[in-house]
């Protein structure tokens, strides 16, 4: 039976997973492998199906169709207590009638560990999240961040194959959230367990994940590293959902060249250009601005424009530039050597060939 769990099996495998609630399709055909030890995030707006997907892995919901395997073993209709996964719930779901230690021990006792073994393991887990002092407290005597840590300890103490986290930082304030992000990331590398993390917060997903799956309307649109997701989104939704981006409508000429307004633009990699019009995506911070006549390297696309507006952001300036291809937003670091342009100035807008992407809808 060991061969089933041999290395190489993904920690979680979803094949053709569909889930409907009545007429509503929550998850619409997902295929996904999550590698062992990976920090994988499911990112998307509320109602995109990410939580439903997580709940299916946990066993709280069952797929309408498709197969789901955990550590190489198909879980089918196994209830949550028969799956080697544990969940950190959105609002922690700590048992209010038990103290911290009893909360953390719960899973171990259910797995029929002896009370002394369970206590020892629970105490180690409580130490791992630095709550030794508070082991006898009830959940309602703890702050949000402390409750969060108890929830983590309560799940991790069982040494699950996969840890499922459902927007675990959603209820915390900004400062604490950033602190917990670092802590979670450190914890992940310390325990080496596969994390499946559900969030609608792109920054959280970008900073913590090994890979991100972006979801919308029940579909998994793109699965990639944070870097690829941000720099090379493959779909319009992904580009638009994550960060600021210029989405420009361009025409495709007779010989396949892409025309943005009056200018022809080039791409670094093979851009698949199909049809007569495409969407070109460029991040505002990837675009440079220079005066008319200034030298621009040949590895850059350049188009002329006129400054419509400049907004001061402290660490940067944001520009809106009127061009023949439409309004382009630019974000420029606030450095002394950067010339400032004012509304009405004629400028050259330029970007590296690799900075722009052609998007599918």
């Amino acid at each position: 039976m060991n061969t089933e769990n041999d290395a190489g099996e993904p920690a979680v495998r979803l094949v053709g997973i569909h889930k409907s609630f009545g007429d509503f399709t929550a998850v619409d055909g997902i295929d996904l492998d999550i590698a062992e030890g990976e920090f994988f995030s499911l990112l998307g707006p509320s109602g995109c199906g990410k939580t439903t997907t997580l709940r299916m892995i946990a066993g709280f919901e069952f797929p309408t169709s498709g197969t789901l395997s955990i550590a190489g073993k198909e879980v089918g209709l196994d209830p949550p207590d028969k799956r080697p996964v544990n969940t950190v719930f959105q609002n922690y779901a700590l048992f209010p009638h038990m103290n911290v230690l009893d909360n953390v021990m719960f899973g171990l006792l259910m797995k029929k560990q002896s009370k002394s073994e369970a206590t020892a393991a629970a105490q180690r887990a409580i130490e791992l999240v630095r709550l030794e002092e508070l082991a006898k407290r009830k959940p309602n005597q703890l702050s949000g961040g402390q409750q969060q840590r108890v929830a983590l300890a309560r799940a991790l103490v069982n040494e699950p194959k996969v840890l499922l986290l459902d927007e675990p930082l959603g209820a915390l304030d900004l400062k604490l959230r950033q602190e917990m992000q670092n802590e979670l990331k450190a914890l992940h590398s310390e325990v080496g367990i596969t994390f499946v993390y559900v969030t609608h917060d792109q920054e959280e997903a970008l900073t913590m994940s090994d890979r991100i799956g972006v979801m919308n309307e029940g579909k998994l649109l793109q699965v990639d590293t944070p870097n690829q997701i941000y720099e090379h989104p493959s779909k319009r939704f992904v580009a638009d959902f994550i960060g600021e981006i210029n989405l420009l409508d361009a025409r495709v000429g007779s010989s396949g060249e892409v025309k943005l307004g009056d200018s022809t633009i080039r791409f670094g990699q093979e851009a698949s250009v199909v049809g007569s019009s495409v969407t070109v995506a460029i991040r505002p911070e990837s675009i440079d601005l220079s005066g008319v006549g200034d030298e621009v390297p040949s590895s850059m696309n350049q188009i002329p424009g006129v400054v419509a507006r400049r907004v001061y952001f402290g660490d940067s300036h944001s520009y809106d530039i009127e061009t023949s291809g439409g309004m382009i937003s630019i974000r420029r670091d606030n450095r002394p050597r950067n010339t400032l342009f004012d509304a009405g100035d004629a400028v050259t807008v330029s970007w590296h060939l690799n900075a722009a992407n052609v998007l599918e809808d």
């Binding site: 209830p79 207590d81 544990n86 969940t87 719930f89 779901a93 048992f95 009638h97 259910m110 309560r154």
Partner: protein
């Protein structure tokens, strides 16, 4: 000098007293005063002719509480109220659980169905039960026709418990429903996620978290059962003399007003203790 905000506060307080005046008057005349009279009577003297003399205050009536007969009646009442409470709990909990887990629409329909008997005159309902249970009633006839013999249950303690179960079930269902309905189901999911099977999750999470409903419902059933008068009078026989009837008898046939008053005081004290326990547990849960 009286400051402006103090004037405002005073007129606010005056308005408050005024709005509470009708209820205060009513409760004083029809509750506090009679209660005081009962307490006073419990220390009064009963003359040989059965008259009550409001003099020679003594604890004689309270001494009488320890008579064998009285202890037996109190014990029997306590026991039957306990059985009724437990039966109510067994019947009501699964139903309240079912109710709380339905969709809001079905839930409202079921709640109305629960309330309908509650809105019907209690006396009529008890007489209906008496008819059902009587030796020539439909249940007995049915059991005879299938050869199980006639059915003799009326005027037994069982009949009284059945009647009280029926009368007070709503008091158990509603608090249980409220407790189960407001419980966070995520906690049950968390228990299942932490390897508890359905039954264990219920024992370790659902039941402890709905304890307030269990306690509130139990008190709401136990208290009226303990002092119940109508149900045992109609459904019980001579062998099931309970506290409520016994007290009524002291004020009626026996004409021992001081003793009836002392019994009433004990009953009231028992109920007050139950209410205090209920409030304590509710407070400790917050």
């Amino acid at each position: 000098m009286v400051t402006l905000d103090e004037t405002a506060r005073r007129s606010e307080a005056r308005r408050g007293r005024l709005t509470a005046l009708p209820a205060t008057l009513y409760l004083f005349v029809f509750f506090v005063l009679p209660l005081g009279i009962i307490v006073a009577y419990s220390f009064a003297t009963r003359t040989a002719t059965g008259r009550t003399e409001l003099s020679g205050w003594n604890l004689g009536s309270y001494d009488k509480l320890f008579d064998d007969l009285v202890v037996r009646i109190v014990w029997r009442s306590f026991w039957m109220a306990s059985v009724t409470t437990i039966m109510c709990l067994i019947v009501a909990y699964p139903f309240a659980y079912y109710l709380a887990t339905r969709t809001p629409k079905i839930r409202n329909i079921l709640l109305v169905l629960v309330m309908i008997p509650f809105w019907t005159n209690g006396l009529i309902r008890i007489f209906a039960i008496r008819f059902l249970l009587s030796s020539d009633g439909p249940i007995s006839q049915a059991s005879e026709s299938i050869g199980l013999g006639s059915f003799r249950i009326l005027f037994t303690p069982t009949a009284v418990v059945l009647g009280m179960l029926y009368s007070f079930l709503t008091f158990m269902i509603l608090p249980l429903y409220v407790a189960i309905e407001r419980m966070d189901w995520k906690l049950v999911e968390a228990a299942r996620d932490l390897y508890a099977d359905g039954g264990t999750a219920f024992r370790k999470v659902t039941l402890p978290l709905t304890r307030s409903g269990v306690i509130a419902g139990s008190i709401l059933v136990f208290v009226p059962s303990f002092g119940s008068f109508v149900v045992p009078e109609i459904l019980g026989g001579a062998k099931t003399l309970l506290l409520g009837s016994y007290i009524a008898r002291q004020f009626g046939q026996a004409r021992n007003l001081p003793f009836g008053a002392a019994l009433s005081v004990v009953l009231i004290m028992a109920m007050l203790i139950a209410v205090v326990i209920n409030q304590r547990t509710e407070a400790s849960e917050l």
